[in-house]
């Protein structure tokens, strides 16, 4: 019994790890195709049919490139930077519930690696740790542009973490739990949290854009001012790790947004499907639904990137401290008042 559970968990970990890597890999392809579509171009179409093998070619190129470590860089930290970036990106997905409980034979399997009772806070911790990869790499490069990129990343992440946390508090007042599994279960059918927390979701999404350093918040790697930003001095697969970490972060934050606000694996009519498809197939449909939501969010990330120009730095700080934080606090107060009124009169 014990060993079987352990093996199931191990398989789950490997599968989730593989899926996040494959999704990140094909996000790079999707990003180019979406960019091409939005700019009325063709996009990559040489490697394989529709350029479907392009990510493999890019990966091979990254591994084959010459690896350059600047002479004045501090060697060990130069390697720690990208390693830390990709590690923190990968461990975030451990607490996300990918689907309802699945029954194979007489065994019930949780489609979640671990359900710690502080799941949301764990994700916060991982997100706040993510900035170290950028900061250490930028500082170790011994380059002014890298350092400026790293400093920008640090101040940006700290500023937007606050409003992200405040937007979550309003959600927690309604759900009454920190466990992502319970939050997902509460949104059964169409009772999605976005219906009760639209403002909270908007704030959370803007902060997610800022935390993943995606455009319009990609100031840390602003080419027009900082050459390449924090990864100016990086080459070969170490650069690949930084770029890859961004796409994994995008995948994980899409999954978090889908789970917290858009019902996770729940969809209208799931009871009917569960009654007809049986306890083995129905959870798989739930997983497919969750992934559809995740891909929709990833597409949204790309859509925004190729539509909106990036902010100026003072605009970024202004938005974070003077707009989003007061909005998030107002959201908490409103949520408290309305839920108390509903409790009193209904």
């Amino acid at each position: 019994m014990e060993i079987a559970d352990l093996i199931i968990k191990l398989v789950l970990v490997v599968v989730i790890f593989a899926i996040s890597l494959v999704v990140a890999m094909y996000s790079t392809y999707a990003e180019r195709k979406v960019a091409a579509f939005l700019q009325d171009r063709v996009g990559p179409n040489r490697a394989g049919p529709f350029g479907i093998l392009q990510p493999m070619a890019d990966g091979a190129k990254m591994f084959m490139k010459e690896e350059i470590i600047p002479t004045r860089a501090s060697g060990f930290l130069f390697i720690v930077g990208p390693s830390l970036a990709i590690m923190t990106a990968c461990i975030g997905s451990a607490v996300i519930p990918w689907g309802p409980q699945m029954q194979i034979g007489d065994r019930v399997i949780d489609l979640q690696v671990t359900d710690i009772n502080v799941g949301i806070l764990y994700i916060f911790g991982v997100v706040s740790l993510g900035v170290y990869g950028i900061m250490i790499g930028g500082w170790a490069s011994n380059n002014k542009y890298s350092l400026l990129g790293a400093i920008r990343a640090a101040s940006q992440n700290i500023s937007y973490e606050i409003s992200m946390g405040l937007s979550i508090i309003a959600l927690l007042m309604l759900t009454g739990t920190l466990s992502l599994k319970e939050i997902a279960e509460q949104q059964h059918g169409w009772h999605w949290n976005v219906l009760t927390q639209p403002l909270g979701f908007l704030i959370f999404m803007v902060c997610a854009f800022a935390e993943t350093n995606r455009s319009p918040f990609d100031l840390p790697e602003c080419e027009t001012e900082l050459v390449g930003g924090y990864h100016t001095e990086y080459s070969s697969m170490k650069l690949g790790f930084y770029l890859f970490a961004e796409y994994i972060n995008m995948f994980v934050s899409s999954a978090v947004m889908a789970t917290l606000y858009w019902g996770g694996y729940n969809y209208p009519g799931m009871d009917w499907v569960a009654a007809h498809a049986g306890p083995t197939i129905a959870p798989i449909i739930g997983v497919v639904v969750l992934f559809a939501k995740i891909f929709a969010f990833i597409f949204f990330f790309m859509w925004v990137r190729w539509t909106i120009p990036r902010f100026r730095y003072d605009q970024l700080m202004h938005l974070g401290w003077k707009t989003l934080i007061p909005l998030a606090i107002a959201n908490i107060v409103l949520t408290g008042i309305i839920s108390t009124l509903i409790e009193k009169f209904a």
Partner: protein, 169 residues
């Protein structure tokens, strides 16, 4: 038990490295690892909430700001100020006195058993919230006012000099 001693050893090792590192940025990085070992201590004590909060607030926010400031100032080994022998001597004596005081204070307190838990669920979010908002409501509120006053003070210090000199700067 053996896990506790291993983690405790790592905590002490990395705290020593914080002091002995020549480069200030390396020093802060060791401090980050030290705080990470504290997080593991909390998990061993089954205080999940405290562990995660320590992780987010200390490792994720305060030390990022430490690192941020150090990188902004760009301090290096050669820019580190060298202090005179008297200052060093005063530091050693002060540290020694503090050590004696701490050891004396610890000897006076009753021995506790940190590894064996009295109440296994003490550290869960629900229990902690109930205890904080029932038994310790007043100290909790007072400490929040303390934090607020610190914040207001910081804002005041930051804006105080700006106003009269606004035309000259």
């Amino acid at each position: 038990m053996s896990v506790f001693y291993f983690i405790a050893f790592l905590s002490i090792l990395f705290s020593l490295l914080v002091i002995f590192a020549k480069n200030p940025v390396h020093s802060v990085l060791y401090l980050i690892i030290t705080f990470f070992t504290f997080t593991i201590h909390y998990i061993i004590l089954n205080a999940q909430f405290l562990a995660v909060v320590n992780f987010i607030v200390y490792m994720g926010a305060i030390l990022v700001l430490f690192l941020f400031v150090l990188m902004m100032l760009n301090l290096n080994e050669d820019t580190e100020p060298t202090k005179s022998i008297y200052v060093k001597l005063a530091g050693i004596i002060g540290g020694g006195v503090l050590l004696v005081t701490l050891v004396g204070a610890i000897k006076l307190t009753a021995k506790s058993n940190p590894v064996v838990l009295q109440d296994v669920n003490l550290g869960s979010v629900q229990n902690l919230g109930k205890v904080l908002f029932n038994e310790f409501l007043l100290p909790f509120e007072v400490s929040s006012i303390l934090l607020l006053s610190a914040m207001v003070g910081a804002v005041l210090l930051a804006t105080k000099e700006g106003k009269p000199k606004a035309t000259t700067v």
